[in-house]
């Protein structure tokens, strides 16, 4: 695994308040007797790719769910773009500029790829049930404008022209993941929350996905929060990493620092050598 600094990687540095896009402050989350998150705090810098890693069940997805307001932490604050969003309604979060993908694909399976992506644009469109029903003038113009934007920017970027009229439910897993990313992009996000975008992909597809994420981050300037178990990817593309275990943060820092942290190795990474020896290979 080579984590050699390549062109474009940003060095972690001290954060100025105006640079912070997203901040979690002492988040506690509980389900019955289970403490899913206990006092997690960290800051995400504008323009960074922030990775979150940790063993299964550590609470990574829970963090995204808290940010999207699916879950209500019983303690703690979430500040986005200088605004406390701890009490914003779930469907409002999108308007603020937070978009996400899901660990178990959550696409609208009965719809075409194009419609799925258009839906991402929902909050930026205006037509209502009357103008939409008449489908004349403004509503139609809007549809076509959105269509143009999506086709020319997102579909083109993610290289899914060929499948844009297909029904999502029948697509292979890898494409579905891509469509999910496309839908999130259509939301014109300031921050993109990605939950294991590379899971279930082979190497080539992982490379493609990594490339898309970097493009989105560098060319569109979108901040990315990335949960991923593929350490190769995390090491290579993230600017900074947070490590969770049992709902608490056990480490934070640059990929390199984190990967050498003994706690992290013990709880999460395991050493490759140990694994191989156990397998007897």
């Amino acid at each position: 695994m080579s984590a050699v600094a390549s062109p474009g990687r940003r060095a972690p540095e001290a954060l100025k308040p105006e640079d912070v896009l997203l901040e979690l402050d002492d988040i506690h989350l509980r389900f019955g007797g289970l403490n899913a998150l206990s006092g997690v705090s960290f800051k995400v810098k504008k323009g960074h790719i922030q990775a979150i890693i940790g063993p299964n069940g550590a609470g990574k997805t829970c963090i995204l769910n808290c940010i999207c307001r699916f879950y209500n932490p019983y303690q703690g604050k979430i500040i986005f773009d200088g605004r406390d969003i701890s009490h914003v309604a779930t469907h409002r979060v999108a308007e603020l500029g937070i978009a996400r993908s899901f660990q178990n694909i959550e696409l609208f399976r009965g719809m075409t790829v194009l419609d799925n992506i258009k839906l991402g644009h929902h909050v930026h469109m205006k037509s209502g049930f009357i103008s939409g029903g008449l489908y004349l003038g403004k509503a139609q113009a809007e549809e076509i404008r959105v269509r143009t934007e999506i086709e020319e920017r997102i579909i083109d970027l993610l290289e899914i022209e060929a499948i844009r009229k297909k029904v999502v439910g029948t697509l292979p897993y890898g494409f579905q993941k891509r469509v999910e990313l496309a839908r999130a992009l259509a939301m014109r996000p300031k921050v993109l929350l990605l939950d294991e975008p590379m899971a279930g992909m082979n190497l080539e597809e992982t490379e493609d996905m990594a490339r898309f994420i970097l493009d989105i981050n560098q060319e569109w300037g979108v901040t990315v929060v990335l949960i991923e178990h593929d350490m190769g990817v995390v090491m290579d593309i993230s600017d900074s990493v947070v490590v969770l275990d049992f709902g608490t943060k056990i480490a934070q820092g640059s990929p390199k620092e984190v990967s050498q942290n003994p706690h992290v190795i013990e709880a999460y990474l395991g050493s490759e050598a140990a694994a191989h020896s156990k397998l007897g290979l």
Partner: protein, 353 residues
């Protein structure tokens, strides 16, 4: 300019009927529908059915079925109260007509009233999902039924409410043939509306709510708003159907809008095809025409064995049920879905694989 080219191609891609061939067909069908009343007498004697009446019923049911399809097929909320919502529309039109309102005001008012009531009974969708919601709307059916029956001062109670047929610029639309155009107009309007709304922003949000409401919320769809909106539009349409019904039958009572009607609407959209614009049309045709077709053998047999005609009546019901079952076994996604696969097959033929 390439940019301009793009634009026009997206717009073309956006048309409902994409090929000339299809457009020609649609035009031909429409013209046929327009001139049909001239041949109604021939149609009646040829088929042994009152064809114009069947057309009118189909048109009315198409409007209502579109409404329910929007709610159930597109938004994923089952309603067992649409019979009663139709009743609300019918009574509204009837009462307003009695107060002297012209029908082109009373009819939209019927839709609005039904929408209001539908939204009220749609409120539980804030918390209820799936079958729980379905049964809550069934409660609406029974409660509204009760109101129609017992609010005598308004509805005329069980004696019913007489409505004068619609007049349009002095023409009394009191024959089946004159009513035909009225119903046709609204059926076409409802179909276009459904088609358009489902391919625009609102309709996509509906389907999103149906498919995965959690991720719909994440992309900024206000679940509550859309669920209620769907109830509203849906009951508006079925309310219009009710208003038309009132003007067509010219007397209404609570017995017209029973649980059975609600179930019938649901059956129409399921057999027709949930979530397909064509579904409501196919469903309405199926449920209006099939019983009439089955009446032909029943009547013929009764002619031969009049003493046991009761058995033929029962058999007719049974055969009807069996046909519905068979249809669903062979085409569980509804007639519209079969239509689509057949079309897809022919498009690709002979390279169907």
């Amino acid at each position: 300019m390439p940019c301009g080219l793009f634009f026009s191609s997206y717009r073309k891609d956006d048309a409902i009927f994409k090929t000339w061939w299809l457009r020609l067909w649609m035009a031909a069908m429409f013209v046929a529908l327009l001139v049909y009343p001239l041949f109604s007498a021939e149609a009646n004697s040829l088929t042994g059915m009152n064809v114009t009446n069947l057309f009118n019923l189909i048109f009315i049911y198409v409007i209502g079925a579109h409404g329910l399809n929007l709610l159930t097929g597109f938004t994923g909320q089952i309603s067992l109260g649409h019979g009663a919502f139709m009743g609300v529309g019918a009574y509204t039109a009837g009462i307003l007509a009695k107060m002297g309102w012209p029908f082109f005001v009373a009819l939209p008012a019927a839709g609005v009233m039904a929408a209001a009531v539908g939204m009220l009974f749609g409120l539980p969708s804030l918390r209820l999902k799936g079958l729980y919601l379905a049964i809550a709307t069934m409660a609406a059916q029974f409660i509204l039924d009760y109101a129609m029956r017992n609010w005598t001062s308004l509805t005329g109670g069980s004696a019913g409410l007489t409505v004068h047929s619609a007049t349009f610029f002095g023409i009394d639309l009191n024959t089946d043939e004159s009513f035909y155009y009225l119903a046709l107009f609204f059926a076409v309007l409802a179909t276009l509306y459904l088609k358009n709304v489902t391919r625009s922003r609102t309709g996509r949000a509906f389907v999103a709510v149906r498919d995965r409401y959690l991720s719909a919320e994440v992309i900024g769809v206000n679940l509550f708003q859309y669920r209620i909106m769907s109830f509203g539009i849906s009951s508006f349409m079925v309310g219009i159907a009710g208003g038309l019904w009132a003007y067509y039958i010219t007397i209404i009572s609570d017995e017209h809008f029973t649980m059975w009607l609600s179930v019938q609407y649901l059956a129409m959209v399921i057999v027709g095809g949930l979530g397909h614009v064509l579904g409501g049309i196919f469903g309405a045709i199926f449920f209006v025409v099939l019983p009439e077709l089955l009446r032909i053998p029943a009547e013929a047999l009764t002619d031969i064995y009049p003493n046991i005609f009761g058995i033929f009546a029962s058999l007719r019901e049974m055969v009807f049920g069996l046909i519905v079952i068979l249809f669903l076994i062979f085409e569980p996604d509804g007639l519209a879905a079969r239509w689509h696969t057949v079309r897809a097959y022919w498009k690709l033929w002979p390279f169907s694989y």
